[in-house]
Chain length 225, copies 2
């Protein structure tokens, strides 16, 4: 029988991607990391400003082993990052999915099921116009797959007013908790309900803009969201 095809090599653990606790929940598996990153479009980007930490929510997309973070040229992290000639901006980019509420019989063992990815690295502004345009398309398509082809592309002025940060996927880890509660053996007979409440995400019915021509129907890529 042929050997199973090996998956891509995992990310290499570093001092700051090996957790001090719950190390059994950590993973460096590339496909797991990509899957967590591709399932949503909002990250929390951390950086240092005037010696203090700042965490801002922002849109992003993954293209291969790069993340692109979208922003305005006026936004502080983007201005601080400079372009590829500059030293860049030290960042930590974190993406988290909550999958379930874990209700144990004891307060102490309550938990949540989650999947998170933490990326450490140095971000730079994307200055190459082609890369920038492709990155912005990727961000739009990361939010709504297929949408970039069904919208008016950015013009020169709009591209100039938009900034994109690039962050390579090198120092990366995932952390995952799954499964039910882990109660102490002596608590099993307690009369409290115990189990997992799944957390679900989804989309409601699209609401057309007031000025939408009624002849324009809902595109297929929205009906399958």
């Amino acid at each position: 029988m042929p050997e199973p095809t090996p998956g891509p090599a995992p990310y290499r653990p570093t001092d700051r991607t090996v957790p001090t606790r719950s190390a059994d929940r950590a993973s460096y598996d590339r496909e797991l990391v990509h899957g967590i990153l591709d399932e949503t479009y909002l990250c929390h980007l951390g950086f240092i400003r005037d010696g203090a930490p700042v965490v801002l929510p922002t849109l992003y997309a993954r293209v291969g082993e790069r993340l692109y973070v979208h922003g305005s040229t006026g936004s502080r992290p983007l201005r601080m990052a400079g372009d590829a000639k500059d030293p860049g901006l030290a960042v930590c980019l974190t993406v988290t999915h909550v999958d379930g509420l874990v209700l144990a019989r004891s307060a102490f063992h309550h938990s949540i099921n989650y999947r998170s990815v933490v990326v450490h690295g140095t971000a730079h502004q994307v200055t190459d116009p082609d890369e920038k345009r492709a990155a912005l398309d990727a961000v739009v398509d990361h939010v709504v797959p297929g949408r970039s082809l069904d919208s008016r592309p950015g013009n020169t002025k709009e591209l100039a007013a938009t900034a994109v940060l690039r962050l390579d996927l090198a120092e990366v880890s995932a952390k995952v908790r799954t499964g039910g509660p882990n109660d102490e053996p002596e608590d099993v007979s307690l009369p409290h309900w115990t189990g997992v409440v799944p957390v679900v995400r989804g989309y409601g019915t699209p609401v057309p803009a007031d000025d939408l021509d009624p002849a324009v129907g809902l595109p297929d890529y929205l009906s399958v969201l």
Copy 2:
């Protein structure tokens, strides 16, 4: 007619809570901030470790004008914060709700509707046993209202193994985007669907633990989630 009752005073803006862009989306309204914080239980906590930013997802609860962040005594931010005698840990705590995908006719004007709160401040470990116990109950009840009374309270050993950070709500801002796309007038006749796709969150059917006594029914506080 009586004057309307004034709401609580807003948070005082500071250099770092006044955004450099989209300032019209910023708010310091206390009730708005509390509402955003109370609607979920997961925040992203940023701090500085070895000169670099770190952003970790973690559970929290609000009690009045204080946030409590839950962790293990082994976790790095909690150890770094020290207790009330120590200088504490500079943090930025951010909470974000995504409410809708905003699809404009132009790629440039794509956006998301969201509500976020950013809290800057210094976190300390809670060492008073009563405050710690109340904070942990608050975290459990923040995730599932009513649950702390229907679980076995933490014992001395469990309380010792759990750490709680306290962060006062002082330097706080909210940012909110609502409404439809803001297309350019010259784009209105383009043939692209435009509007908002609502993002919805909810819960699935609770899954009992394998060892749950079938005589223990689903509590009311879960059936109303």
